[in-house]
């Protein structure tokens, strides 16, 4: 029991010790963190921490706490201990009997009061003070207050300071003006919603359109300050004791500063990179969807997918562009729809996770209908937002009823001309006319029959075009003078049922320019010469005869239609349709012709061997590839001489180096990291300044790495021809014969 009590006292002592030390540390920690957040210098805060903690520890003196003090504290706290807690620390053997009894008693007492014993201290106060300092520091650093106190965090800050070197060795004796201020403000384009940044770092990497403004100040008066780009120089304006210059990032490049002091001495800075970053278009990632989905009519036709859209500055809009194709052959119809995502698209977000459920029934799709859709995302870039179009997905409801013979299956494109499709329509219309005959007046009936006859004729003439008939061309026959006037723009307009145009209102407006279809013959790309039936390249002979036959049927059909006898016309129309179907089903007509197109053969000249009009072909060209980077090559050779001879570059050399620098800069814009140092060194070489040893070699090495490798080529080598060699050759030849 006694030992338990003794342990309790020791534990309390230990705990007390710990809490005192913790308090000491906390008192130091708060101000140290504040100092670090404000100044950014780690070692300052470490010193502050040690100093404050040291002072606090001197006040609190945690090391003074011992078991004796603990006993006194317990005695003071609990009257029940009868001021005898100290007895517990003494071994029982060393105590008189009475004291032992008291010890036993006190040990029991202590067990009872133990839970009520808590170390005294101000830990809470210490924590509060620390938190106060923490929050102060965070506020100050977050809002950039006390920015002037801020000292560069690391050495890179010192490295970032613009170092000017004298560009000529003559003005060395005077003390050059010193740089007192350097600042670069980056004002990003509004759409990026990025806060303006001020930095001392002169190497810039910014999105195109960013406004850059430089400010530099000197402790002394200087004559002029300029910012130099590779081949241009922009003077900096003097405003309120600073030199400023602004420009907008348009392309990558390099720049440096140059100032002239009042004595005419010129000083140049190092070369800095200006890297223009292009705003990237949004990136789309569609998850959980196969490229091609097919559904049975009976199952639930849902497409569920998630789309992750990311952009570097913000997404403006995301939508699904869906096209539903209905029917096939002549009755195919398209409907385009812009579907929104189920989740709301928050404009300006950089990352969006959107989900969508498309139910094919909601789109009123039937078996055989197909849905094509893609996702289109636009970012916030101004002017001219970037648009990304995702890949196209397909969904189809399987049609198990129809099973048509399809030639298209073997071909990349459906080359079926539309004209083949209209005979059926004519039949339908004729049948309708026959059916409606009782209700129509004779005049109406005749007029409709005549119209159908006209349609039949136009169809026939179009087939004639395929055949290369001489009768091709404008419609020369007009049905009625009055009607003819109306058909100036499109002669067929009032007679034909425009099946292809009636769907236009269903389509989403496309920005692409509509092709001028008035002149386009759908076969023009595949057929070359229609003048001569012999040269018609589309149809084989048997097909030609079939088509001729069909056209004959069409003639007859037209005849009866014109005679207002549509019922007599029908059999011919059916015959014509049948023939056209046969032609359609023959795969041979769809052979896709590609490759070499021979020019038309003039039969009268063919195989005659007549060449009098054919001249020799002459061509004269200079296609020698000029040597790349000639000045860089010259510079390498000249540097080699300077290295070997140990001489200083002359004025002419500096001009070579300058031109070499311009050449290298063009290459360096593509890969700034690789050549910047060489470019910088070349820049120094063009100035009249001391050149450190090894600089020539470094520049030479850099230039050589930028010059493309040479490739082997034929050469005319030198060989001395001795009289003895000649004699030997002559002798050899003599014996060779």
């Amino acid at each position: 029991m006694i030992s338990t009590a003794k342990n309790s006292i020791i534990n309390l002592n230990r705990k007390w010790h710990f809490l005192l030390w913790l308090e000491t540390a906390l008192f130091g920690l708060g101000p140290a963190v504040l100092l670090y957040l404000v100044t950014g210098v780690l070692w300052w805060s470490v010193v502050a921490f040690m100093a404050i903690s040291g002072i606090t520890s001197l006040v609190l003196r945690p090391w003074k706490m011992n078991l004796g003090k603990i006993c006194s504290y317990i005695d003071a706290q609990c009257k029940a201990m009868e001021y005898s807690t100290g007895l517990l620390l003494v071994p029982a053997e060393a105590l008189p009997d009475l004291a032992r009894l008291q010890q036993q008693k006190i040990a029991n007492q202590l067990e009872e009061v133990r839970s009520g014993l808590k170390p005294l201290g101000h830990l809470r106060r210490a924590i509060l003070i620390t938190l106060f300092f923490f929050s102060c520091g965070l506020i100050l650093s977050q809002f950039g207050l006390l920015e002037t106190l801020r000292i560069p965090r690391d050495k890179s800050g010192i490295k970032d300071t613009i170092i000017f070197k004298s560009a000529d060795s003559t003005s060395r004796e005077t003390v050059p003006p010193k740089l007192t201020q350097q600042l670069l403000r980056l004002q990003f384009p509004a759409y990026t919603r990025a806060r303006p940044v001020s930095t001392r770092k002169m190497d810039v990497k910014a999105v195109m359109g960013t406004n850059l403004s430089w400010e530099i100040g000197f402790n002394d008066t200087v004559e002029s300050v300029a910012m130099e780009s590779i081949s241009e120089s922009f003077p900096m304006r003097w405003v309120k004791g600073r030199y400023i210059h602004s420009s907008v990032v348009e392309a990558s490049g390099f720049y440096n500063f140059r100032f002239t002091d009042t004595l005419g001495g010129s000083y140049v800075s190092e070369l800095y990179t200006l890297e223009a970053v292009e705003d990237q278009g949004p990136v789309l990632e569609v998850r959980g969807l196969k490229q091609f989905s097919s559904f049975r009519f009976s199952e639930s036709k849902d497409l569920n997918f998630n789309t992750l859209v990311t952009d570097d500055y913000g997404i403006a809009a995301v939508a699904i562009i869906a096209t539903v194709s209905k029917g096939s052959g002549e009755s195919v119809k398209f409907r385009e729809e812009k579907l929104p995502f189920d989740d709301e698209v928050v404009a300006g977000e950089r990352k969006l996770e959107l989900s969508k459920r498309i139910n094919l029934d909601d789109l009123a799709m039937e078996p055989g209908d197909e849905l094509y859709f893609y996702i289109e995302a636009t970012d916030t870039k101004k002017p001219g937002p970037n648009t990304t179009r995702g890949e196209t997905f397909f969904a189809v409801i399987r049609d198990t009823v129809s099973n048509t013979f399809a030639v298209e299956g073997t071909m990349g494109a459906d080359l079926m001309p539309d004209y083949f499709r209209s005979q059926r329509q004519l039949i339908i219309d004729t049948e309708k006319l026959i059916k409606d005959k009782p209700v129509l007046s004779k005049q109406e009936f005749n007029s409709l029959s005549n119209e159908l006859g006209y349609d039949q004729k136009s169809l026939r003439i179009k087939y004639g075009e395929f055949m290369g008939d001489e009768a091709v061309g404008e419609m020369t026959v007009t049905a009625d003078p009055e009607e003819a006037e109306d058909t100036v723009n499109d002669i067929l307009e009032s007679y034909t049922h425009d099946h292809d145009g009636d769907n236009e209102h269903n389509l989403v407006d496309h920005q692409e320019e509509a092709e001028d279809e008035s002149n386009s013959n759908p076969l023009s790309t595949y057929v070359h010469n229609h003048e001569d039936p012999e040269a018609s390249t589309l149809f084989a002979q048997s097909l030609k005869s079939k088509l001729m036959q069909a056209m004959g049927e069409m003639w007859d059909a037209e005849l009866y239609l014109r005679l207002y006898e549509p019922d007599k016309s029908l059999p011919y129309q059916y015959k014509a349709l049948e023939l056209l179907q046969e032609i359609k089903n023959s795969a041979r007509i769809y052979v896709h012709r590609i490759g070499f197109d021979p020019p038309p053969i003039k039969e009268d000249k063919r195989l005659t061997g007549e060449m009098k009009d054919i001249a020799n072909f002459r061509k004269r060209e200079a296609i020698a590839t000029p040597e790349e980077f000639p000045n860089m090559r010259d510079a390498v050779v000249r540097l080699e001489q300077l290295i070997r001879e140990g001489t200083k570059p002359t004025k002419a050399d500096r001009s070579i180096f300058e031109q070499a620098g311009n050449e290298l800069a063009r290459k360096a814009i593509e890969e700034p990291g690789a050549y910047l140092e060489t470019l910088q060194h070349l820049k120094w070489l063009t100035e009249e300044m001391e050149i450190p040893p090894g600089r020539f070699s470094a520049v030479q090495r850099g230039l050589l790495s930028a010059i493309p490798k040479a490739s082997p080529g034929p050469d005319r080598d030198s060989r001395f021809l001795d009289t003895a060699d000649k004699m030997l050759l002559e002798e050899l030849e003599k014996h060779d014969r």
Partner: protein, 583 residues
């Protein structure tokens, strides 16, 4: 005894003798007295002594030393210590002399009976010091480091620069690195420990000019142990004037045309498109010139590319013109062969059918399509490309020119497959070999690639000029010696005084310029030492001169003659004036 005396100025011995006798005669005549007393004879004797000592002062007598029979060991660099120990055991009285470059030790050496050279040997320009002596060359250890070096000193831009060499006794982890101008690492090789290892380093020359490459030796820790300079003069590619005559347009010609024209070569192409109708193209040319086949016009061409069909069908006069241009002006003719050409005989080439249509030529990493033939080796056939000993491209000399062909077929496939470099290398090899050569006025030749400062640099020049004059870097004339047998060959020696690039030109034709790089003796030490060893080996590898060594001579001190002369002159002067001297 008298035979042991020689005179330094033996050539004036007669005049001195005559003068002395004359002087003596005059003296006797002057002193002549009818009644000759003792005094007269004393005076005559004194005068004789005087004249003698005067003559000796003029002639400088030398004493011939009897040759010693002792042996001297001449210690040079690379000495094997055990050799000297064993020698000292054998010859108790062995004298030892340390060899130092250019130090005159001739007299000392000549006082010995035999010279034994230990170590790698002495500089060739010090051989004269041992002339006439019996010499034994025992040889030393091979030097450690680079002991062999072969490389193209004047490659053309784009040509592969190959540096071959031998390294002796590399340490573990040693690496050789080839560095270009500015210290760019170009190629490297790890060496195995010990032994003599051949190595090869490769790079491609990028631009023309004089450059100093270097061969660096690094140890396993990456520390630079040694760096040797490698002077290279890269030549610009010279532009050729090429004519192409085809019986019909081919893809091979089309791609070859693009390759050549893009490189800036002057190119004329005439392809037959129909009977008597041609497609004529000219690239990078002067509008005034054209491709007409006449000897005069062909003179200006460097290379003519023709398909075998055209070649066969050439009219007689044209064929003659082409032949003459090849024989007399050095025109190169490349024949694009077809199966008929490979089967036929009489074209100058003979082919063997080998039924293989793909081949990987030596030093090419790719398989290239070919006709199922290869060249039959014969006298004068110069191979350009080979594969497993079979010749694939070759040329023969015809007068000053060359006629070549290849069995490669559809090489443009290489370009289509993206192997542009291989295509270029293939054609560069074939066409460079065949095309017309420049014939410079002079050709320079040097013994060693390593030329040291202040050491004799021996060079040769072959020229057709009758009286060539060579002017060195300093502007002074370097004397030349004509070869006894070959009147076109001249030799000269100069002592370069400036480190770095030096040059010498023919005064008669400044286009014949020779550039060389001079280094100090710290460069290429191991290579130079190996060279010395080789030269010594060759030089002393002959029957040793037996018998006595050459006799040495020692000058007799002149002081004695002076004293005798003074005493005699003094006596003769004082004798008439002082009674003491009168007898």
């Amino acid at each position: 005894m008298i035979a042991d005396i020689r005179f330094l100025y033996e050539d004036i011995a007669w005049p001195v003798l005559v003068g002395s006798v004359a002087l003596l005669v005059v003296f006797i005549w002057k002193e002549w007295q009818p009644n000759k007393r003792l005094r007269f004879f004393i005076k005559i004797f004194t005068a004789l002594l005087l004249v003698f000592s005067l003559a000796m002062l003029a002639l400088r007598p030398l004493k011939v030393m009897a040759p010693e029979n002792g042996v001297v060991a001449l210690l040079s660099e690379g000495l094997k210590s055990n050799q000297l120990d064993s020698l000292q055991k054998e010859y108790r009285d062995l004298s030892v002399i340390k060899y130092a470059v250019n130090k005159d030790i001739r007299d000392t050496l000549h006082s010995f009976g035999e010279v034994i050279i230990l170590g790698r040997g002495i500089q060739p320009f010090d051989f004269w010091q041992l002339e006439g002596m019996p010499v034994r060359y025992l040889g030393g250890a091979h030097p450690e480091g680079l002991i062999g070096l072969w490389y193209t000193t004047e490659p053309v831009v784009g040509e592969e620069l190959s540096i071959k060499g031998t390294f002796n006794e590399p340490r573990k982890g040693d690496r050789l690195i080839l560095r270009g101008p500015g210290g760019t690492g170009l190629d490297s090789i790890s060496l195995k420990e010990g032994g003599m290892q051949p190595f090869q380093l490769l790079t491609t020359s990028v631009l023309h000019g004089k450059f100093l490459f270097s061969l660096d030796l690094m140890d396993s820790m990456g520390t630079l142990k040694n760096s040797e300079p490698l002077p290279v003069r890269i030549r610009p590619e010279s532009k050729l004037k090429i004519g192409v005559v085809n019986d019909f347009p081919t893809f091979e010609t089309k791609y070859l045309k693009n390759f050549l024209a893009e490189r800036g070569h002057e190119l004329f192409i005439r392809s037959k498109v129909s009977s008597d109708r041609y497609k004529m193209e000219a690239f990078n040319t002067d509008p005034a010139t054209s491709l007409t086949i006449s000897e005069k016009n062909l003179e200006t061409f460097d290379l003519l590319i023709m398909d075998s069909e055209t070649y066969k069908k050439l009219p007689g006069t044209w064929q003659m013109a082409v032949k003459n241009a090849i024989f007399n002006t050095g025109l190169g003719l490349f024949i694009q062969g077809d199966t008929g050409f490979f089967r036929a005989t009489g074209s100058g080439f003979e082919f063997t059918n080998d039924k293989t249509t793909m081949v990987q030529p030596d030093q090419v990493q790719l398989k290239i399509p070919k006709h199922p033939f290869h060249f039959k080796e014969g006298f004068g056939l110069q191979a350009v490309h080979t594969a497993d000993g079979k010749v694939l491209s070759a040329y023969i000399r015809a007068g000053e020119g060359r006629i070549g062909s290849t069995v490669f077929e559809s090489t443009f496939q290489l370009l289509l497959d993206g192997h542009q470099k291989e295509y270029q290398r293939l054609w560069a090899g074939i066409l460079t070999g065949i095309s017309k050569k420049n014939h410079p006025v002079a050709e320079w030749g040097i013994e060693s690639r390593v030329i040291y400062l202040d050491q004799p640099f021996e060079f040769q020049i072959r020229t057709t000029l009758e009286q060539p004059e060579v002017i060195g870097s300093t502007g002074s004339r370097i004397p030349l010696a004509q070869d006894v047998d070959l009147f076109n060959l001249w030799q000269g020696t100069t002592y370069p005084r400036r480190k770095g690039w030096n040059h010498q030109v023919l005064k008669n034709d400044t286009a014949a310029r020779f550039e060389y790089y001079v280094m100090d003796t710290t460069s290429w030490r191991s290579l130079a030492q190996y060279g010395i060893q080789e030269v010594n080996n060759r030089h002393w590898d002959r029957d040793p001169i037996t018998g006595e060594g050459k006799q040495g001579v020692q000058p007799i001190p002149q002081t004695g003659f002076y004293i005798v002369f003074l005493l005699c002159a003094g006596y003769l002067w004082l004798e008439p004036r002082n009674k003491v001297f009168q007898f």
